[in-house]
């Protein structure tokens, strides 16, 4: 655990070494997020309540997404690069260390821009999410569960390259699809799409369910969220560990 925390601290120090660039990217991302909030404000301004969702509900949804994405691809920036790392033989430097490889790989890289998301998400929730103590608690736990689901899903997709080759492009596609769907309220989508969002493109578990729980907490759905998130985490872990046996370390072009 100490190793993991130190790795993350080192990654932060590495990113922070160029202060101006880091801060600038964080700022740009915050601006980017604010414009998204602006879009929703403009939309609801003209359209009014849609299927029972008003602007504040959507802002809660968006804050969950920001926290989940901020952690998954900001702090744990390698979670979406596992495919690339495997294809380029860049897992070597971790595999020679006497530690569990996956936590180290995930924490050794930070993406400044998406850290901006992580900073703005809670701010948005506090401003627009009616932060009573209960809602804050559900928000934090729900976002964390969503994060775990997202990271597990990303690691799973990336680890697949250890089995089928490629550079993880499928994972990238899946991730971007999740991002799109996860930005809109679940109720917007009809039957077939909704099934998709609970399975192959698990946006429902990343933001949909957590946001619903903040609106309207219910122990059963909370349990569902937590167990599915844990399931994705396990899936990612197992796929990656099994995949390591087939790792070829980029040796295909430099033996």
């Amino acid at each position: 655990m100490n190793a993991v925390l130190t790795t993350m601290r080192t990654a932060l120090a590495d990113g922070w070494a160029n202060r101006r660039s880091f801060a600038f990217q964080v700022l740009l991302m915050v601006v980017n997020d604010v414009t998204w909030v602006l879009f929703w404000a403009l939309f609801f301004n003209r359209v009014g309540t849609v299927r029972g969702w008003n602007p504040d509900d959507v802002y809660v949804l968006f804050s969950v997404l920001l926290v989940a994405a901020g952690i998954a691809i900001g702090l744990l920036a390698n979670s979406r690069r596992i495919g690339q790392l495997a294809a380029d033989g860049e897992l070597d430097e971790t595999l020679v260390l006497p530690i569990e490889p996956l936590p180290h790989i995930l924490t050794k890289r930070i993406d400044a821009a998406n850290v901006g998301d992580l900073l703005f998400g809670p701010v948005l929730f506090v401003l627009a999410g009616n932060p009573t103590p209960e809602r804050v608690a559900v928000f934090v736990l729900g976002s964390l569960a969503g994060t775990v689901a997202l990271v597990g899903f990303l690691v799973f997709c990336g680890a697949l390259t250890l089995f089928v080759g490629g550079r993880g492009e499928q994972g990238d596609l899946g991730f971007n699809a999740i991002l799109i769907f996860a930005s809109y309220p679940l109720d917007l989508f009809g039957g077939a799409t909704k099934v998709l969002l609970f399975t192959a493109v698990p946006a429902a578990f990343v933001t949909g369910l957590p946001a619903q729980l903040v609106r309207d907490f219910d122990a059963q759905r909370a349990a569902l969220l937590v167990s599915v998130a844990a399931g994705f985490a396990l899936l990612g872990w197992v796929t990656f560990s099994l995949g390591l046996r087939r790792y070829s370390s980029g040796s295909l072009w430099s033996r």
């Binding site: 101006r20 660039s21 600038f24 990217q25 740009l28 991302m29 601006v31 980017n32 414009t35 998204w36 602006l38 879009f39 403009l42 939309f43 301004n45 003209r46 359209v47 009014g48 309540t49 849609v50 299927r51 821009a113 492009e169 990238d172 596609l173 971007n176 699809a177 799109i180 769907f181 809109y184 917007l188 989508f189 009809g190 799409t193």
Partner: protein, 258 residues
């Protein structure tokens, strides 16, 4: 003219030969069309069948054309131009006896043409499935060249923006913000008529509206030829600005010995 045509061809062929990239983009197009369809259906439903004269079906055609025009263009060009300038790669490019900006824009235009063709087919099919035939044949006929003009304007504008890196030197992540300018004042996410008065007026003055709003408006059944003229005018202006920015930057590099 010939080197620029050659650049265009190179871009075109490059995009066609990389089916992976095309497939990914088309998949996104379909996803976005689906999502927007869901959003605007719900929105129109909640507003008694139409908003600012747009029905659900015409809104879907709006979305289709706006998305097609934008998805044809690489969103990170601003950043890439900035990086080429910041890293000095552009100095090497300037050794060629052609306009760097002109050549670069031609190549990207070629790529965009390939993507545009694919997107029109895929996006058109998806939207037809969801919303039936386009509300106006004339509008749709004008929307196709409008998509091309909009994409071209987008490319030129990104080069103009990226060219600022000659002076600022750090363009990382700026493409996000640029993208949002196309999304909102550009009318890609939301038709300009739905914006509050002041914002709508500002958006109509900016060039971004020609990149998404115009093709969308035409495809949604409002066959207004003046829109095409407006696009053409902005395209010329933006290309001019891009070329000027690069030329000024080039002079600056020569002075600095960069």
């Amino acid at each position: 003219m010939r080197p620029y045509l050659a650049g265009f061809n190179r871009g075109l062929r490059g995009a066609v030969v990389a089916p992976g990239d095309l497939t990914v983009r088309m998949t996104f197009l379909v996803i976005v069309v689906l999502v927007m369809a869901a959003l605007w259906s719900a929105a129109v439903e909640a507003n008694g069948g139409s908003i600012e004269g747009y029905t659900r079906d015409s809104l879907l055609w709006y979305v289709m054309a706006a998305q097609v025009a934008v998805i044809a263009v690489r969103p990170r060009t601003v950043e890439e131009v900035g990086e080429e300038i910041g890293s000095g790669t552009v100095a090497v490019q300037m050794l060629l006896p052609v306009s760097v900006a002109g050549l670069r824009m031609s190549i990207e235009a070629g790529e965009a043409a390939a993507r545009l063709a694919a997107a029109l087919v895929v996006g058109g099919a998806a939207t037809w499935f969801l919303a039936g035939a386009p509300p106006s044949g004339a509008g749709m006929a004008m929307a196709v060249p409008a998509c091309a003009l909009g994409a071209a304007a987008n490319i030129a504008s990104q080069h103009a923006f990226g060219g600022i890196a000659f002076w600022l030197l750090d363009a990382k992540s700026t493409w996000f913000v640029y993208q949002k300018l196309v999304f909102i004042p550009g009318g890609m996410l939301i038709p300009l008529e739905l914006l509050p008065g002041g914002l709508e007026a500002v958006a109509r003055v900016l060039p971004f509206a020609t990149m998404a709003y115009v093709p969308g408006r035409l495809a949604s059944g409002h066959a207004e030829p003046a829109l095409l003229a407006w696009q053409a005018a902005w395209l010329v202006a933006l290309v001019g600005v891009a070329l000027a920015v690069y030329a000024a930057g080039q002079r600056r590099l020569e002075v600095l010995g960069g």
